[in-house]
């Protein structure tokens, strides 16, 4: 008792210091990660055998034009200076011009990213809402037929090629049954009705009160989102199951049963509360994967998202667009990491 009492004293006397230290450490590691990411994209941009000047001025430009642009891009400066120019550009959200359509890359990304975000968010939502209960139920009924079904469902999710599932889904639900909208985000008839605010059509149409547009957008997104949701479900449910199994064999679960709690309270109020932290990490990872843009899904469903944007840019050697997209995807990963770190602190009293 005395040992813990003195611990308590110590904790009460200096509560702020560790907190500040922790925050500084987190911020520091974020800064280092971002610098590292930008350094990598910078180096890739420089070592690529693509002449950025030539790409802008074209093959037939005169030497003086070439030199002018060369200087304008700062390519005559030492590499380290160029790197700081690059940092400064990125901080201002300037990723340069797309060589393909001569528009600022940042504008392109601002257009395609919300499309991916809308799809990924709905997908991960499906994955959580179905995957977490499925994993819990499978763990609770370990070895039973429910567990077997959950296993098969996840296995199919892991191993089915997404383009096959996507095409089959389109064929059945769009082609044959006509229950859902086809490829794309909206039917032509509904396009350009609602003003773009967030870039996410479901949100924009809801904000504008255009419910017919909302319904149409929903009918388009539901199939690709379910598909992504299925993949996310497969992963989330398996992880949930194994986390839950670990907790269900813990002694405090027996304590809860000894108290006379119902099995439901034992599972959700006691065991489940203890897997929240691990689950958050898994969900963040799953979400990040979807946000990166599921290229195949976006291509099959003609979804103008960041995955298909980067792929198209890559195939046409549009380096600014590729690197810009990469930086954005990297930033998303970092942001989700910070977020799951914060939630971790909220949900685990031991981390305080």
């Amino acid at each position: 008792m005395s040992a813990s009492d003195t611990n308590q004293e110590r904790r009460r006397r200096a509560p702020l210091f560790p907190w500040i230290k922790g925050t500084l450490l987190t911020l520091g590691s974020i800064a280092v990660t971002m610098l590292g990411l930008l350094f990598v994209t910078f180096v890739i941009g420089r070592v690529m055998p693509i002449d950025p000047v030539l790409a802008i001025v074209g093959e037939r430009a005169s030497q003086s034009t070439y030199d002018a642009v060369y200087e304008q891009l700062g390519l005559d400066k030492p590499l380290i200076v160029q790197f700081f120019y690059y940092l400064w550009d990125v901080v201002r959200g300037d990723f340069g011009m797309s060589l393909l359509n001569a528009r600022p890359v940042s504008e392109d990304i601002a257009r395609v990213f919300p499309a991916t975000m809308e799809l990924a968010t709905l997908g991960v939502f499906v994955g959580i809402v179905l995957g977490v209960p499925l994993g819990v139920v499978a763990a609770v009924n370990r070895g039973s037929w429910i567990d077997q079904i959950a296993r098969v469902v996840a296995l199919v999710g892991y191993s089915m090629p997404i383009f096959w599932l996507g095409l089959m889904g389109l064929l059945v639900f769009y082609g044959v049954l006509g229950w859902v909208g086809g490829p794309g985000r909206l039917d032509i008839f509904y396009q350009d009705i609602v003003p773009t605010r967030t870039g996410m059509i479901l949100l924009d149409s809801a904000l504008a009160g255009e419910w017919s547009v909302f319904r149409n957008a929903f009918s388009h997104i539901v199939l690709p989102a379910s598909l992504l949701g299925y993949y996310s479900l497969a992963y989330i449910s398996r992880m949930t199951r194994s986390f839950m199994l670990e907790q269900l064999s813990a002694e405090y679960v027996t304590t809860a049963r000894v108290k006379g709690l119902s099995e439901r309270a034992v599972i959700w109020r006691h065991a489940f509360k203890n897997i929240r932290v691990q689950l958050i990490t898994v969900i963040a990872l799953s979400y990040a994967n979807l946000l990166e843009g599921s290229v195949l899904t976006e291509i099959i469903f003609s979804w103008p998202g960041i995955g298909s944007y980067i792929t198209t840019a890559l195939l046409s050697a549009d380096m600014n667009a590729v690197l810009g997209g990469t930086v954005v995807v990297g930033l998303i990963f970092i942001c989700l990491n910070i977020l799951s770190d914060l939630l971790y602190r909220v949900f685990d009293p031991r981390s305080k």
Binding site: S4, Y252, T255, V258, G260
Partner: protein, 283 residues
Amino acid sequence: MSLLEVENLWVRFPTRQGIFDAVRGVSFTLERERLGIVGESGSGKSMTGRAILRLIRKPGIVEADAIRLEGRNLLDLTEPEMRKVRGQKISMVMQDPKFSLNPVMTIGDQIMEAYLLHNNTSKAQARAKAIAMLEAVSIRDPERVMRAYPHEMSGGMGQRIMIAMMLIPDPQILIADEPTSALDVSVQRQVLDIMDGLVKERGMGLIFISHDLNLVSEFCDRVLIMYAGRIVEVCDADKLHQAKHPYTQGLLNSLPRLDQPKKHLEVLKRDDAWADGESVGGS
């Protein structure tokens, strides 16, 4: 009528090598007394305790002629009825408070949960009751402890909290499964004294599981000696040294004693025949 009667209790586990009997036909009764269960590791002490609460997890099987609590056979109860017995009538303190308290719930919430489950009262009343209970297990500053999480507590504090939590619904029987083996020797006695005081004060029945004969003889009225899933001997705690069974004598002889110092402690000998003998009735 006895407080608790256990008749011919078997606990079985199907394994790949066939069925393993962890507890083999154990019978005993418990009055409002302190009953010790002693035996080496794996002799089936914990399984006996958990079987009484019907908390043997699948695929384990519990069989008995009867487990009667004040004449009512617990084996006939439905699961919801059994839940009313757990906590409220029979409770259990387990070995290590580090693992037996929920790490992400405040201590206050965990204690109040135990009370609210069996008593239809307000949260404020449950809170007051929980604080009183923490005081009863000699915890200073209970208000602060209520807000704390288990990892902030030492082992001794944790086990006293556990005792408070298990006694708050006012059960008639407490099963203490090696409640102090995970604690520092320095706090073992303190915790046992507190538990002992409460059990006596409330006139409860206590089943004290341990492999420490010294502790058991000190804190119990009667002792059951278990070996390989059977009860091989029952004796009064103060007459332990008169025990007849060779296993009990072996246990006693392998203990260091201050009053009769020895150069060598005896090695515990075992005999397969003991495992095959009839179980002794512990009443």
